[in-house]
């Protein structure tokens, strides 16, 4: 098996690694780069515990080949806090007790941040559908959803404050999938 040499950028840092083509990005992060914050719950894209951003897009790192990330930008849970300052979502997850065992938490945080960067005013239904690819077996999701909604509320407040000074930042494309997925039950 011929190894592949890859130059990429993870959490703002240029990183180089060598991997076998049968290694996933998750394998590379965990086993080659020591970044074990992304978790493997299934290896088949069904649990979301390995969620990372690839060029700003939320993906399961277990379904990305390590060999294909050359020249791309990756964001993992390890890059979420800025120095010793937690991201507001991380803070809210703690305050709302939105984690019990904590194995799914990094994936939920990465996925929730990706949502709030696109839409800082999601409905409960939008949050639930956006996070449907992240399994949690401990919490029943209640406190997770509350933490995300509460973070969004705070983000809107601080956005409103800063927009008093400068023009409001434009929303990225809002996730619209909810309405359509709800159509399944439409008569």
């Amino acid at each position: 098996m011929s190894a592949v040499h890859v130059s990429t950028n993870i959490n703002g840092d240029d990183v180089e690694f060598v991997c076998r083509p049968d290694e996933s990005l998750l394998d590379v992060l965990r086993d080659r780069l020591g970044m074990t914050g992304s978790k493997e719950g299934c290896g088949t894209g069904d649990c979301g515990a390995c969620s990372v951003e690839l060029d700003g897009r939320l993906v399961c790192s277990c379904l990305v080949m390590g060999a294909e990330v050359g020249g791309h930008k990756i964001e993992t849970i390890e890059g979420m806090a800025q120095g010793d300052k937690l991201h507001p979502l991380q803070q809210k997850f703690l305050e709302h007790a939105a984690l019990q065992c904590g194995i799914c938490t990094p994936g939920f945080l990465v996925a929730a941040r990706n949502l709030l960067e696109r839409n800082n005013d999601p409905t409960e239904t939008e949050v639930r559908y956006w996070l449907a690819g992240n399994l949690c077996r401990c919490t029943g999701y209640d406190k997770i959803v509350r933490a995300v909604l509460d973070t969004a509320k705070d983000m809107r407040k601080s956005a409103a404050k800063s927009s008093a000074k400068k023009p409001a930042a434009k929303k990225k494309a809002a996730p619209k999938k909810t309405a359509k997925k709800g159509a399944r039950h439409a008569a």
């Binding site: 098996m1 076998r20 049968d22 965990r30 086993d31 020591g34 970044m35 074990t36 914050g37 992304s38 978790k39 493997e40 719950g41 299934c42 290896g43 088949t44 069904d46 649990c47 515990a49 993992t76 849970i77 390890e78 979420m80 806090a81 937690l86 991380q90 997850f93 703690l94 305050e95 709302h96 007790a97 984690l99 019990q100 065992c101 904590g102 194995i103 799914c104 938490t105 990094p106 239904t125 949050v127 639930r128 559908y129 996070l131 449907a132 992240n134 399994l135 949690c136 077996r137 401990c138 919490t139 029943g140 999701y141 209640d142 406190k143 997770i144 959803v145 509350r146 997925k181 039950h185």
Partner: protein
């Protein structure tokens, strides 16, 4: 004055307890720093993989490992021969971790390799040649009880006279039951509970409802697969890092299976990514140790998700019959049940506990429960949150729902009429002390959810549930640091935030701030034996031991203060984080704060610490009542849970957020069990849905917010009144949702999961019978 560590004292006013601070391990968990089972790595470690049987039942004629051993990069290959049977070990566990002659289920471990990397290890697995002779298999509990069923363990269980099985007619109605008694069977045990005379009782009944029910096996579904790293040195010293609910259990069981002295094996528990009972036994741990022993290098073994489903313990599937008789006013006069649980390829299904819990919510004068423990060609069942109770509650609470409908009674009123309370002789024997079922029913009735008006195709269900709660061996140490802060060493793995609760109790007892206590989970060499984190025991038992250890420390600190002041020890009392002179000396000296005592510790006799070791008892049962609203799509059978309410007795909620979290998590696991989760076997006895795609745990968009009410009826067995809360919450949901569906569309689903095809078929059955 709590100078005596054993002073009983039921505290009712609290400063720290009942608040909701951030958990001490929280920041590590939200930043990805927390180290779970698969996050450990040792220099030079090998990757271990396990070869598993592709057959449900097969004789292993031979295993040829020579080609795998010859593959470059392979450092060890093992079969059962490398784990010879040790005297006194648990034979079933030994056979379960590695098949010995017969593969008993799809996924049963047959051999294992350790290689330089996963790629080589995968290749090596393919080079192991196993010659199987496929045998007839059985995976269904009713099928396994038939006289002509393939027998898993010939000669092991007592012969059964099939003609005398209880309620044979109800159980399967098959004529072959009356055939001659075969020599062997798959029935590993028969259990009977109850009192009074149900047959007489039913004669007084105005209404009798009886039905058969079936539930399919479900998996705990923890998101973290089993993982461990083993390192055995050539001198026999061994270390194991592992995600488990019970590091001491892992140590003792592995030592016994591998013939090691317990002292040679040190087990360090990692953070644990969910367990729910599924991590209360060993699977890969002894295999990793055996591989490391043979390879002479550290070996890491991490299960894939499909291995987790195929080879670790789901809970039992069940086939049940329940009959209840009631008077017109709703009083239950008799109850009878037959429960049959298959526990996979080995004895030990939780049918006894299912039987004991079945009618535990009710005050019954005439009650009988018979349980059968049955073996089948499935993975050995493991505990799953209130093991055995959700299934029997599904059947019993379903029948009660139907009785209420027949009598035109409110679902909560009929339960209130029959509810077990202090002094009730429980259906499993003991008389209840103070318990909170009535309080949960009243709180549920008063809740706003119970008053919401329902629309078309919507329905409401109610169900109650019971769990014993356990306590057990617990050791805690608390060390006073030089600056007056504290290090609390616990031996019970923290599955859901228990470190926060322990810090709260320590802070409460000392009268200091929560932030001044740091709790850690110790390894097995640092504390005495601790039982597994199971049975809803951690907050109760480790909490009790923490409080007692702190009291021990307080006695010592007061002693130091007494020496410093030159007064008798019993003339010192502890209050608000400081030693105070008391009695005739009151006011003679300024109080000595914990910080001051800590600073002088070295000069006044040395470091200060408290500890407590106990086999705790007195956990106190917890009851719950759930209320659920659903809407059913009559054209597809699809179901949506609109509202869900959990009301449960926590005794005393130490950290209410995590108590609510237990309520919510248990409820949603129960919702998954009733809606879609199931072990789906093919005709060949292999598991068809060994992944999160087709083993359908609820996703975020499947469920609503889970409303909670914490009822607090203090448990006299705990200084703060704590009852365990972890398990009861999964007991009512199966019946609660089923009752709601019945009220929505008039279909009583008695087979779980109530997946859309089943609901739709039942709806069409109703339509056909009306036509």
């Amino acid at each position: 004055m709590p100078l005596d560590a054993n002073t009983p004292d039921l505290r009712t006013e609290f400063k720290s307890v009942g608040t909701r601070p951030n958990r001490p391990d929280g920041v590590d968990k939200v930043t990805g720093r927390a180290r779970f089972g698969a996050d450990f790595a040792l220099p030079g470690q090998l990757t271990g993989l396990i070869l598993r049987s592709p057959h449900a039942h097969a004789k292993i004629k031979s295993i040829d490992t020579s080609a795998a051993e010859a593959l470059p990069g392979v450092k060890a290959v093992i079969t059962y021969k490398d784990i010879p049977e040790q005297e006194g070990c648990d034979k079933d566990v030994l056979v379960n971790i590695m098949a010995r002659g017969t593969a008993l289920y799809d996924g049963h471990a047959v051999a294992a390799v350790a290689a330089v990397d996963a790629s080589v290890a995968r290749k090596a697995l393919k080079l192991i040649k196993v010659d199987y002779k496929v045998l007839k298999h059985v995976t269904d509990v009713d099928e396994a009880m038939k006289p002509d069923a393939p027998v898993l363990h010939p000669g092991r269980f007592d012969p059964v006279d099939f003609s005398t099985l209880e309620n044979a007619a109800h159980v399967s109605g098959k004529e072959e039951r009356k055939t001659a008694t075969p020599a062997h069977s798959n029935i590993a045990g028969r259990y009977v509970f109850g009192h009074g005379d149900p047959d007489k009782g039913f004669k007084q009944a105005d209404v009798i409802v009886e039905h058969e029910f079936k539930t399919e096996a479900t998996h705990q579904g923890y998101i973290e697969p089993h993982a461990c790293t083993a390192s055995v040195s050539s001198d026999g010293m061994a270390e194991l890092w592992v995600c488990t609910q019970g590091p001491f259990m892992v140590r003792d069981v592995c030592a016994s299976l591998l013939g090691m002295d317990v002292s040679r094996l040190r087990v360090t528990p990692s953070e644990i990514g969910g367990g729910f009972g599924g991590k209360t036994t060993v699977f890969i741990e002894p295999v990793a140790l055996a591989l490391s022993r043979k390879a002479g290098k550290p070996v890491k073994v991490v299960m894939s998700r499909s291995e987790v489903f195929r080879a670790t313990g789901p809970t039992s599937s069940a086939s049940m019959w329940v009959k209840i008789g009631a008077k017109k006013d709703g009083t239950f006069v008799a109850a009878d049940a037959v429960l049959k649980y298959q526990g996979g390829a080995f004895p030990g299904s939780p049918v006894e506990m299912g039987a004991m819990c079945a009618f535990a919510c009710y005050d019954l004068k005439n009650v009988r429960i018979v349980g059968y423990d049955v073996v089948t060609n499935r993975p050995k069942q493991a505990a799953y949150r209130a093991p055995g109770a959700p299934m029997s509650a599904f059947a019993v609470e379903g029948v009660i729902g139907e009785i209420a409908d027949k009598l035109g009674m409110d679902a909560i009123d009929i339960r209130l009429k029959n509810a077990a309370k202090e002094g009730t002789v429980s259906s499993y024997g003991p008389t209840f002390g103070p318990v909170g079922l009535v309080e949960t029913l009243e709180a549920a009735k008063a809740h706003k959810n119970y008053k919401v008006k329902l629309g078309k195709n919507q329905g409401r269900g109610v169900a109650s549930g019971f769990w014993f709660n356990f306590a057990g061996n617990t050791c805690v140490s608390i060390n006073l640091n030089v600056d007056g802060t504290l290090a609390l060493a616990l031996g019970t793995v923290d599955i859901g935030g228990s470190r926060a609760s322990m810090c709260l109790m320590a802070a409460e007892e000392l009268g200091i701030s929560y932030e001044d206590v740091r709790a850690v989970i110790a390894d097995t060499s640092s504390l005495g034996y601790n039982d597994i984190s199971e049975g809803s025991r951690v907050t109760f038992s480790s909490g009790l031991a923490t409080i007692k250890a702190v009291r021990d420390l307080k006695v010592r600190m007061c002693g130091r203060a007494a020496k410093i002041w030159g007064i008798p020890e019993d003339a010192v009392k502890w209050e608000n984080g400081a030693a105070h002179p008391a009695g005739s000396n009151a006011g003679n000296f300024p109080p000595l704060s914990i910080k001051e005592i800590a600073a002088q510790a070295s000069a006044t006799g040395g470091p200060l610490a408290g500890h407590y070791e106990i086999n705790a008892e007195g956990a106190g049962p917890s009851f719950a009542t759930h209320v659920c609203d659903v809407e059913v799509d009559p054209d597809t059978g699809a179901m949506k849970v609109l509202r869900y309410l959990v009301v449960q007795d926590a005794g005393k909620a130490i950290h209410p957020s995590y108590v609510e979290g237990q309520f919510q998590g248990g409820a949603v696991q129960g919702i998954g069990w009733v809606l879609n989760e199931e072990y789906f076997y093919g005709k060949d006895g292999t598991l068809q849905n060994a992944g999160f795609l087709d083993y359908r745990v609820p996703v975020c968009s499947d469920v609503p917010m889970i409303d909670t009410v914490i009822v607090e009826v203090p448990n006299p067995g705990h200084p703060y009144g704590v009852r365990g809360v972890g398990e009861t919450s999964i007991v009512p949901p199966l019946a609660c949702v089923a009752n709601a569906v019945s009220s929505a569309i008039g279909v009583r689903a008695r087979t779980l999961p109530m997946s859309p095809p089943r609901v739709l078929a039942a709806l069409e059955g109703v339509a056909a019978s009306k036509a």
